[in-house]
Amino acid sequence: MALRAYIREGLNVAAIMGAGDTIAQLFIEKKSLQQWDIGRTARFSALGLVLVGPALRKWYLTLEKLVSKDQPALRRGIKKMAIDQTVFAPTFTLAMSFAVPYVNGEDTDKIKNRIRSSYFSIMLKNYMLWPAAQFVNFTFVPLPYQFGTYANYVGAHFWNQQEAHFVYDGASKQMAEEQRPQNDVLYREGLNDYGQTTYTPRLLSVDLAGNLAHLPMGGELYGNFVQRNEELLPLTTGSDLQKLKQSAEANNLSTVDQLEVRAQPPAPISEYQRDLLQGAIAPDKNYQLADTTRSWADYLYARYHPRTLNVLPDLIRDSEVQALATQAAGKEIWDGEAFNEDFCNRIRQYAEECEGLQGFHMLFDIDDGFSGLASKCMEHLNDEYGRVSYVLPLHYPRIPSYNQADPRTAHSIRVVNSVMSYYHLSEQATMFTPLSTLETIWRNNTLQSRRLPGVAWREGNLYQTSAVLAAFVDTMTLSYRLPQTPQSLVRFCDSVCPVGRKLTAAAMALPFGLQQEQDLIDFLDQSGDHSLLTQLTPGCEAGNSYVMQSLMARGIPTSRLKRPQEQAGPQLRMAAYSCNSVSQMLQLYYQCSFHGSVTHAASTPLPLRTRLPFPYELFEANIATDGCQVAGGGEREPHSRVESAPVLAALQNSTKLGEHLDNLHAQTHRVQIGKLQSYSQSAVDREEYETALDKLLEFRDNYADSQHL
């Protein structure tokens, strides 16, 4: 197994070096094909295979082990860099300066002389600039954002998923170091007032007051709040009301000697959270989260930094209607001083901390006024920071209702919000992917939910549907968080967004559908014309020709790929048998089944964790505890739960996505813009809306047939 990894790495490097030499000979040295010194190319490749590839791999694995994990990311980066530069760099440079001329058949003595004269200056140059560049490689961060209630539902599941993979004290050695996601990409280390180290997402989230439920504004890690639930007092950082009152009085905060305390009734805390705070989570207990969840705070396992949570001024959540209805209202809030100054300062503080800010990652509710807030925020980010942004607009899994609006007006509000958002997204975002568990969204009467084989959710349940969407977001974004697929956000976006086609479609298979004991090769062989994936972007199918896609497969172990040669049997005859990894095999599969398409596939053995607080009840009875289908149509043992699941997620881009935009545009004929202008205090600007409509059509042109790849 390990040997194979070395060979793979060696082959990669060999291929790169061989190609490099070929290019050098043909284009730089301008030789003709006849003059091409194949021997030299072969020697170079061989050097890559036996020396450079294995050496690099061995070294970086060793380096990873040498530097202990339990220290701040920055310090760890510095240590790694120091060791790399003092130990590896001099020896490797020496070896290379010897080996390269040697394979070219130069005289040994000549080489020795040259090394003697120039080795020192090479190393000097190396030390002058390289360390810092190496260092950048270790930390690359996108800043995540969440705007809106549903975005926070999805976000809560997303962060829960991150923390489900945290390994404490090296307890689990099962998974190799290199296969875990790099948490430092999304998390930051901090120190709270109690001298405890904290590890929190670099997240900024905006929601309505009231949705935070029992969560104090500053989160629970840094104190600064009164613990309203007396029985939890000794466990958390919250303080006693009486003590705080006394200290405030001692600090002369009151004009008279006594402060007058006005306490609202304590916010109810969910059973899950209470157990979590007391450290008494029973993994087998049924918390009935799907029925009891009133807000995302009820099932949030992750803990946030005090900077993270923001509430909108003057608005309180209303469980019946969207309190912030229109784009225009959202924009108005962004422009208001009460929100803007503080929020922009928080963005700045996160950005200031980042060593290599690579971009932004944003979830927002497109159906209500949060879309306006998000649009304005994107504009701000582009002005101030100018980085890539990957944006996921989310549609509610049910038709939202708005204050004092009949169905027709509600329809208008929703369509106008979408049109305006798409206009901003097409201008500001680098890539965007609308997500919903619904099949169609803008029409009022036909509410069709998507169906993923193997799971069933209650339509309109925010807790369950958001988990499905979060599974997609988590799986897809793994490709820029895994150490062995070092893809930056820029490349991630570029790979599926050719010329201006910023809108991409999401598709997912949860669970992947593999049967127990079945090999991937057989599964793909038997799938026939049946698509593996279900679309999660409403109102479109990517089709199967001229698709650009990026795939991420997780939780399919390499051992399930195919059988070893002696037991392979019919598998030997399949073309895919030569594939040695999940990603290779998927790549081949899509090459064969999609016409004229480009596929980037990546994979990781890391499955999706589906334990609490994930809605494990989603899975149907024929899914085994490891997320595979029980063979022969059987069912898993009653009362057992699915612990983890393999997932395949894809981002797709094809001319057929134009249909999604057409659907939206078709709905605009029914918009009563006049009525909306008198709808709320912040009216929709008709001129802006018309510009947005024009731009939408212009944007749709990118998806015209003549424009393909």
Partner: protein
């Protein structure tokens, strides 16, 4: 029957007397909530939310929001008080009190059959008269420290404990006097409020320079510099296309160098310009150099700067660019072409302070700072917020004084005088409008009354004493909260802002009139109206 109910039987509505009583009871309710807050002896409220968030406040606006009052009338009054706060920074409680009292007084006459329209007209007359009185009693002041301290102290004592108020007064007055410039109006944005959460320490101090909430991000950078040249810039020193995943192999040092140079030359050029400037101004002297940038600086650039001993800060607040130029001199640069020494600012000392996970950078000992920082330390967030709000109000009070160049004697003196004048004025008016002038006059007295009640004195006693005393003297007479006896506010140094009083009189009478003239309250959705 209201016309709306013919069209839409589901609409909720309230007419005439009923509508009025809804408005009046809402205003009264609010007044009751706020009454105890008024004045230096008013209580401060500690609000604890359902989730355990704490706010300490006397601010009427905050209170209204926290109590989640969603009554339409209440929110209208709340908005008036917010507007009051936005424009003058003080008088929010007074606004709510006065509107409540105006409606309460009006109610007495309205219930006897007076038409709201006449009432409103009378209010208008009374207001004009009151403004006249206000102009008569205003005291022109010289802008000097003593006067500013008096006005700031009066304002601050209504927000925090006298002991703390004295300290804050000093800080606020010094801050404003430092940045004040005879020619231009004072820009309060040039006073930065910086907060530091510190477990044990509660302290507020004035820093004649700038404090920033971030520090150097390179371990080798100096922690403390003296005699510092400061370069303020808005230039990116960051390798923007963050794509450094390629490794390359090379045969000679030259080749290696060429690769690297090509990739980074763009940014390196900029860094080099800074370094060149630093060498030209600092080499051979004991001067040092700091770079404060609004854009990012990547680790490679930081490294190059650190090697030169330059302290570099990235992602400074946009407003700090302006503040830095004012505090240290120099110009904020948008490009490094043609950098000169005259673009640089100067500070005596620049140092870093680390507190938990936060870093602070102090830029101090500036030659002629036109921008300063008030540093607030407190053990927790709500303490800091409360002090910050108080300071903000104090600064506004000082600023108002500088702008107006006049003050109004405080401690209820103006209200008492206005009452007496209005009562006299009432007799010159013909018709029923005089009743409403009387109502207006009575309403004004709610301020001294509440001051007295909050201090533990009898309201009627006080009012009688004050009105009688006021008639005897030409000087204004206010209430001494320490003794409950009349006193001369001018002697005691108790002043209010002219602009604040003026705003209160204007907005209260307008809002009250509007509310009185409401004769129908309807609640009907869009659905039902247009469906």
């Amino acid at each position: 029957m209201a016309s709306i109910s013919l069209l839409n039987p589901k609409a909720e509505f309230a007419r005439a007397a009923q509508a009025l009583s809804i408005n009046i009871s809402a205003a009264k309710g609010l007044q009751d909530v706020m009454r105890t807050n008024l004045g230096p002896k008013g209580t401060v409220k500690m609000l604890v939310s359902g989730a355990g968030d704490i706010k300490i406040t006397k601010d009427g606006n905050v209170l209204l929001h926290e109590m989640q009052i969603q009554h339409p009338t209440a929110s209208m009054i709340a908005r008036a008080s917010t507007a009051q706060d936005d424009s003058t920074g003080d008088g929010t409680t007074t606004t709510v009190m006065l509107i409540g009292e105006l409606l309460k007084q009006a109610d007495i006459y309205l219930s006897e059959g007076l038409h709201p329209r006449i009432m409103a007209e009378g209010f208008e007359k009374a207001r004009d008269k009151a403004l006249e009185v206000l102009d008569k009693v205003k005291v022109p002041v010289e802008i000097n420290k003593k006067n500013l301290v008096e006005i700031a102290n009066t304002s601050l004592k209504t927000k925090v404990h006298p002991a703390l108020a004295d300290l804050l007064t000093e800080v606020c007055v010094d801050a404003v006097l430092t940045i004040a410039n005879d020619k231009k109006p004072v820009d309060l944005h040039m006073v930065e409020l910086m907060e530091m959460q510190h477990k044990t320490d509660t302290d507020t101090q004035l820093v004649r320079g700038l404090v920033m909430d971030h520090g150097a991000r390179h371990p080798d950078m100096p922690k403390r510099l003296e005699n510092v040249y400061i370069l303020t810039a808005n230039v990116s020193l960051e390798y923007e296309k963050a794509e450094v995943n390629s490794g390359f192999f090379y045969k000679t040092a030259e080749e290696r160098e060429a690769f690297v140079r090509a990739e980074r030359e763009f940014i390196d050029q900029r860094v080099k310009k800074v370094i060149e400037l630093k060498r030209s101004v600092c080499d051979g002297t004991d001067k040092t150099f700091a770079l404060i940038n609004q854009k990012g600086i990547d680790p490679i650039s930081l490294d190059a700067l650190a090697k030169e001993g330059i302290l570099a800060l990235r992602r400074a607040k946009r407003r700090n660019m302006e503040r830095l130029a004012l505090a240290c001199g120099g110009t904020a640069m948008n490009s490094f072409d043609d950098l000169q020494e005259e673009h640089l600012g100067y500070a005596g000392v620049v140092y870093e302070h680390v507190l938990g996970e936060n870093k602070y950078t102090f830029v101090e000992d500036c030659k002629n700072p036109l921008s300063v920082t008030i540093l607030i330390k407190g053990p927790n967030r709500h303490t800091i917020t409360q002090i910050k709000d108080a300071i903000r109000d104090g600064l506004r009070a000082i600023n108002n004084t500088i702008a107006d160049k006049v003050l109004i004697p405080g401690a209820g003196a103006f209200e008492v005088r206005a009452y007496n004048e209005l009562v006299a004025y009432k007799d010159t008016i013909k018709g029923k409008a005089r009743l409403s002038v009387q109502a207006f006059a009575d309403a004004l007295l709610v301020i001294p009354k509440s001051l007295a009640v909050n201090s533990g004195y009898d309201a009627q006693d006080t009012i009688v004493k004050l009105t009688v005393e006021d008639r005897l003297h030409s000087d204004l007479v206010g209430l001494d909260l320490a003794t409950g006896e009349p006193m001369k506010p001018v002697d005691m140094g108790v002043y209010d802002n002219y602009i604040v009083k003026k705003q209160i009189l204007n907005s209260c009478s307008i809002i009250a009139s509007n509310l009185l003239l409401v004769d129908e309250v309807m609640r009907a959705g869009m659905t039902s109206l247009k469906g």
